[in-house]
């Protein structure tokens, strides 16, 4: 069984996702694990951050004592000022997203389907949900990467054949990075790309709701 197998922590997931950001890309980070990604972008790799709060080219989260009340991200966290920033209104913030100007967005998820459907705004048992900018990002960003835990608090798989939760976007996810695997939704189903150290492809399958397409050899995460 896989119950006691070691899973990667959130920082390692963020570190793995950071390797997916091409130099010069404009990136929007969602709340949760995605926020951590900015800590792991290599110093010699220039990445521009976009925030729905109306800030472009901001830095990572601000250090303690360096908070500016007017420099915040979409989650209300303080950002580090850097040279070359721009401020703009919400119309521009979402024109940038919907107009395809944001290259990569990294989002959390409740469920991702085998063909890349995303459900991340509402848990049906709560009955209510906040949509925020998630639908705009899912539809408008050139590339949507999901960074999340592989299973929810009750152990239920979050990578599923079909989403049962209300969708944020259809067929929009291009890569899924979790604490046990890296996977790629394809028209034929969810393809396994990498496994966490110590995990076999079969073990990943045993905690996954979607049928994985497993290649002959699967690489381990390089972390």
């Amino acid at each position: 069984m896989t119950d006691d197998k070691e899973r990667l922590d959130r920082a390692i997931i963020a570190m793995r996702v950071a390797r997916e950001l091409p130099p010069g890309a404009t990136v929007n980070l969602g709340i949760g694990i995605p926020t951590l990604v900015s800590m792991f972008v290599a110093d010699d790799s220039i990445v521009f951050y976009h925030s729905e709060s109306g800030v472009l080219n901001c830095g990572p989260l601000a250090e303690d004592g360096n908070e500016d009340i007017d420099l915040i991200n979409a989650g209300g966290q303080f950002l580090e000022p850097v040279p070359g920033m721009a401020y703009f209104s919400s119309v521009d913030a979402f024109a940038m997203i919907r107009g395809g100007h944001v290259d990569v967005t990294i989002l959390g998820a409740h469920q991702v389907s085998a063909t890349g459907d995303l459900a991340n705004w509402m848990l049906p048992d709560r009955g209510v949900g906040n949509i925020g900018g998630a639908m705009d990002l899912a539809a408008g960003a050139e590339k949507v990467i999901v960074a999340m835990e592989h299973n929810d608090r009750n152990g239920n798989p979050k990578v599923v054949q079909e989403c049962s939760f209300p969708l944020t976007g259809k067929g929009c996810v291009s890569l899924v990075v979790t604490d046990v695997a890296v996977m790629e939704p394809t028209p034929d189903g969810m393809a396994l790309r990498e496994v966490a150290p110590g995990w076999s492809a079969d073990e990943v399958q045993s905690v996954t709701g979607a049928r994985l397409i497993i290649p002959d050899s699967v690489a381990e995460y390089e972390v």
Partner: protein
């Protein structure tokens, strides 16, 4: 006689907001909400309000939350209407049937406000297709892309916050304060701006005016310390 849009107090600036009014409330988080105007609105006793705002039930949006606690809101249109965790006053009132909630994607809110302010009859966008937000909606294929029609969202009043104004209503902001405030200013019949600093015409370099005064009907000086005057 000198022309001026300056009002003496937040109370006089919101005095004609009536029961059942639709309000755009600017700001998202910290330092971007028109706090003094919302305090005055609460004191005025108006009710059955429709509130359009980014965050509703969040501890950075005290003004909207106070209106909700006082049961003055009949309807909320917002991307973030509910508290992040379970519970929250808006969720409670919504579940009791006392308050209507429309959850709206942020980009859709921005475009609907822009359409209202610019006199555009609507916007076609592919965002929300394939989700429950597209159920029963009018669609059209534009340049080969299926789109949903979003209608303009116009309000009776906009309550916004800026950093500084001149007596003609020209506004400038600080950082992320601009976000929703600048988008809402053109989309209401009457727009009321609460600002930290008020100057004579010319106090703001015309190159640096973000919201031109044509969109702003009233200005109230309300420094963040709470002093007014």
């Amino acid at each position: 006689m000198t022309f001026s849009k300056l009002y003496d107090t937040p109370a006089t600036a919101v005095a004609d907001i009536h029961d059942g009014a639709t309000l755009l409330i600017g700001g998202a988080t910290r330092n971007s909400e028109p706090t003094a105007l919302l305090v005055a609105l609460l004191a005025s006793g108006v009710r059955d309000l429709t509130c359009v705002c980014d965050f509703a039930d969040w501890d950075g949006s005290e003004g909207v939350l106070q209106l909700a606690h006082a049961e003055r809101i009949a309807s909320i249109i917002s991307p973030f209407p509910f508290a992040g965790e379970s519970g929250g006053v808006i969720r409670k009132q919504w579940q009791a049937g006392a308050l209507a909630v429309e959850v709206i994607p942020q980009g859709t809110l921005a475009e609907r406000l822009r359409a209202a302010g610019a006199g555009i009859g609507g916007v076609f966008t592919p965002v929300v297709l394939g989700t429950r937000f597209a159920d029963g909606r009018e669609t059209r294929t534009v340049n080969g892309v299926e789109c949903v029609l979003e209608s303009p969202l116009r309000a009776d009043f906009a309550l916004i916050r800026a950093d500084r104004a001149d007596a003609l209503g020209n506004l400038a902001y600080q950082g992320a304060q601009r976000g929703w405030n600048a988008v809402m200013a053109p989309a209401a019949r009457i727009t009321i701006a609460e600002v930290d600093v008020v100057g004579e015409p010319g106090a703001i370099d015309p190159e640096l005016v973000i919201t031109p005064g044509i969109y702003v009907n009233r200005v109230v000086h309300a420094p963040p310390t709470g002093e007014q005057g």
